[in-house]
Symmetry: C2
Subunit: 414 residues, 2 copies
Amino acid sequence: MIQIGLFGYGCVGRGLYKALQQTPQLNATIKKIVVKNKLKPRDINHELFAYDKEEILNDREINLVIELIDDADGAFKILTVALQNGKPVISANKKMLANHLEEILLLQKKYNLPVLYEAAVAGSIPIIRSIEEYYNIDTITHINGILNGTTNYILTQCFKEAKTFETALKEAQLKGFAESNPTMDIEAFDPTFKLILLLAHAFGVVVKPEDVLNFGITQLTLFDIQFAKEKKQTIKLIAQAYQTDKGIAAYVLPKFIGEQHPLYNIHEEFNAVEINGSFNDNQLLKGKGAGGFPTAAAVLADIFALSNQYRYPYLKQQLKPVNFINNDHLLKIYVRYATDEQFEAFHFHQILARYDGNAYRYAIGYITIKQLIQAKLNQGKGAFVAEIEETPIQINSGVKIPIKNKLPAVESIH
Amino acid sequence: MIQIGLFGYGCVGRGLYKALQQTPQLNATIKKIVVKNKLKPRDINHELFAYDKEEILNDREINLVIELIDDADGAFKILTVALQNGKPVISANKKMLANHLEEILLLQKKYNLPVLYEAAVAGSIPIIRSIEEYYNIDTITHINGILNGTTNYILTQCFKEAKTFETALKEAQLKGFAESNPTMDIEAFDPTFKLILLLAHAFGVVVKPEDVLNFGITQLTLFDIQFAKEKKQTIKLIAQAYQTDKGIAAYVLPKFIGEQHPLYNIHEEFNAVEINGSFNDNQLLKGKGAGGFPTAAAVLADIFALSNQYRYPYLKQQLKPVNFINNDHLLKIYVRYATDEQFEAFHFHQILARYDGNAYRYAIGYITIKQLIQAKLNQGKGAFVAEIEETPIQINSGVKIPIKNKLPAVESIH
């Protein structure tokens, strides 16, 4: 009999409560729910609620802690004490997990207890367990993921309905697909946390968020959308991790992709992960990345796994010499910028093309991941940055831009 | 240390041999390979080969039998003796597994040994284990699968390149996507065997192939393709299983689907399975359904699972009262036929529309699954049969067919 102590009763917490009621075969019940707000009206039996975390952490009958709160620091404290007190933990808090991954790996060993977090990456998609139990037997060469439903919804609206980023964001907020403070999503921090979890399982790399490049979609304009459309491409915010000859390249960037790309048809708030392996060739897993019930489905699966004594084997960390991140890798990048200072912040390794118009200016060329991280810390943060597929695309076909100045040296035009 | 006795050294057998050499962490080696043909040249050490099945079945050092032969009856004999002799079995033989599923369930219990067969359904896609370990915690409401790469390749060619079925089939044979005798694929027996395995895992139903409706794509003509295109639809060969109010509806039929359908963009030889659950909402898993390495990837994952004492829990059979098939379910069906006898074989429950031209004649309406099985056994086998999505589609917009005879009574036109 699993007796659950639940932290948080938001959208996912409510979904989990209802889903558990319809899943008697799991033999699991919520014994107590700790929330912050005493005054908020609740839709279930009030006696379940408590307001002091010790009421769960010190309850000897509770043998599973599920943590579904927003506060990453608070969540890590809960996780630590729960393990100390002999309770396994299920969490959906990607920020907490990514920020403290190294410590969480050690804590699991120290207390010989599992921490499971399927719901933290791509919501309902069983990606972490599939990697550990299935894809890791193969050699994973490349992972591509749409790991954030909010930005995918916004990008879909921008491309299908020709809306501006600002309009699409407001609509996403009205529909509940974006939070009132959407920074974590639209600036691509949320998918970066998720990528960090995938990196640990698929490549055995443990890395800090600040070492992973991410640009979001806040600077996207109608020009960038038009630029993509004229090449019969779309723009998706893609989290990538792949083997290079000098380690693993890992980053989250908007990317121009054509209809041959497996993520081209992932629309609206859906998430998807594409896995390329030496033997399995190409796999795609698609599903809802958020929402009460879809996320609860992943938590339910974790409860079931725990009831079968499951814990993540972290197979890639055991089998290989520890892998490392290759931030010297060169990416083919489109930078649409406003000022010379913005452009200069990027320190292109090689420029392939550069255009200069009254309204828009952009450059295409190769930049290292490290330089892109630096550019974002400096003036580059105001530019729209997107990766370009290495397959040649025709640059600027039919875009009419009056050239304002003579261009500086261009090394080659594709 | 896993010592493997391998039956069969075709495309998948060779893929497995090579994949195992690159996967030392599995700690598994092939000790012996039993093949039929003594004269065929082999690309690896000849001493591995034997020609008498007893050389594997009676070898006490061999602790895993992997069966990758074509002959379904021979495969079942191997499986039975292997279990009798205390050896777990991995098989990719969907025909054998579907024909003998009930016995195989009993044999696993009797000898307390596992039979795993991830490679038998959708090749590289980890669908059976995902259902057992993940989706079964949820309530699965509807499975849609493109489970046959040969027919999906042919249909893609027909729709993208405007080829006839005959041309596309010949090309598929030249490219190795179709066998010289393609009946099992193009008449939709192969995906029916796979659907039977999915039914057991997702719904706890064990059913014989003869009780599952299947129509293939051999009767597809350019008219049917044109009919679909004018409605901005495509035709896919889809294996379906879903809950109805009187049991599980399960069948394999060509189906007209629009671009909103999750399987619309599954092209070429790819397989895909869409799973709808009460909580997880909508999931899609896509990957290669055949080929030496992709199929070997699934076998490798089974070897890894066995090394962790894994066996299928057949969760849905344990949890529920045994489910049953509802062949009285009504489907909305398009029948394009040549003769009155063909039409009459279908015994429509309700006709929605009927058209009669010099070259082509078709009817659309509701038919029970049982009647469709009967129709196929009678004159109906020469007709092209496809399911129509329940969402209303405009029938016959713009198709110009000279009407030859006055039509019989039509109950309604959508």
